[in-house]
């Protein structure tokens, strides 16, 4: 196995594109090293992206936040402004693993590991995030919900990697939240996860809503119908029930060691409703 730590996007792409064997990018390594240890992958090349400046910085611009894909969860948590704008997203990112994992794990890694249960993805969907991808053909943007295609499979082509996330600024009347269900209080992979981003008008009526779900299908979902169910409401019971129905209808989970199909479908609705209540509160304050 070869290890490279390039300092530019171009150099990283060149290395990845030229490798004939299995190449992996390394950011926080909290998934990659486990996969290597358990013989799930035996890469010929590992490209450490942490020396590339753009990937390690968070900037706030007029169009929103640009979060480097290799920024760790612990660093993200310390960004007071980001937390004020998108508390749900920061909370989701901070649910990935333990304090120790937070010291290394990144948003880019959580996305590109392409697990249906990744905590940050539903929250990124709720926040309407896009990703900036760099590759042999240059840069392109993709909506976050379009990156993961299936377990361990992304829309990235050979030589491509995610450089940063773009998240719009939170306007007045917007709020987000992410909740997940796990059997313990920490250290588990989400059995279901729900991220909600809401926009309300001054009277409290929801004018837009985005709902992302994790661990209920072969990839994280953006459930448009669920968000639409809330629009026009003040999060009254009827609207929430409709949203919950839409959430459950979108779930196509599996039975596994972490939960049953019935449980996931049921609890996805419960968690989404609870997250919506938090997001609504945040939108109104």
């Amino acid at each position: 196995m070869r290890y490279e730590a390039p300092e530019t996007l171009e150099a990283a792409t060149a290395l990845l594109a030229a490798e004939m064997g299995i190449a992996r990018v390394l950011a926080g390594g909290t998934d990659l090293l486990v996969q290597m240890k358990t013989d799930m992958v035996d890469p010929a090349l590992v490209v450490d992206l942490k020396r590339i400046g753009e990937m390690r910085t968070i900037t706030k611009a007029v169009d929103g936040f640009h979060i480097g894909a290799a920024v760790s969860g612990a660093e993200l948590k310390e960004q007071v402004e980001l937390k004020q704008h998108w508390p749900g997203l920061v909370e989701a990112a901070n649910l990935i693993g333990s304090t120790q994992i937070q010291g290394r794990a990144t948003l880019g890694g959580n996305l590109c590991n392409a697990s249906p249960a990744a905590d940050s993805i539903p929250a990124l969907i709720a926040a309407n995030a896009t990703v900036s991808i760099f590759g042999p053909k240059g840069r392109r943007q993709l909506a976050v919900e379009d990156v993961v295609l299936a377990p361990r499979k992304t829309a990235l082509d050979k030589g491509e990697f995610v450089v940063s996330f773009h998240i719009p600024l939170r306007a007045k009347g917007m709020g987000d939240a992410y909740l997940r269900f796990i059997p313990r209080t920490e250290m588990d992979i989400a059995v279901v996860g729900a991220g909600i981003g809401l926009k309300t008008d001054p009277s409290g009526v929801i004018t837009a809503a985005r709902i992302g779900l994790g661990a209920v299908a072969s990839r994280p979902l953006h459930v448009k119908a669920a968000g639409d169910a809330l629009v026009g409401s003040k999060l009254d019971k009827a609207a929430v029930d409709k949203m919950v129905d839409a959430v459950r209808a979108a779930c196509k989970p599996i039975d596994d060691k972490r939960g049953t199909i019935e449980f996931r479908i049921k609890v996805a609705g419960v968690i989404a409703a609870r997250a919506a209540a938090i997001a609504y509160d945040r939108a109104r304050t």
Partner: protein, 158 residues
Amino acid sequence: MAKHHVSFTINGDPTEILCETHATLLDVLRDELELTGTKEGCSTGDCGACSVTVDGRLVCSCLMLGVEANGKAIGTVEGLAKGDKLHVLQEKFLEHHALQCGICTPGFLVASKALLEKNPDPTETEVRYWLAGNLCRCTGYDKIVRAVMDAATVMRGA
């Protein structure tokens, strides 16, 4: 297999090693440097026994390649005591009998130190969540949490 020349500091001391690409920081600490205070409980980031700090950040040394440590400042349990003076956390772990077998203790100490540097006055809940990545199978955590809370009080000078 090509080895990498890696230099870093461990508990303040400059250190240079030759490191295989796939070796983790934990492998480097235990096998190359014979700093066996850092323990291996799972090697998949689930138990926290291998906790160290890297540039002040708490991480699992099993989930970091040795080559990534180049230029970093590594902190391990061996760096807690200064000369013959134990760190307050070490004293409090002894005073509260916060260990039984002791295999998880180095990880808990390193993690607790990182907590108190960031949050000198944590609530019990904050201590419990911060330490959720450190598994202990002997104590039920009760006395560990008490020791950390008490150490925090002493370190605040309260």
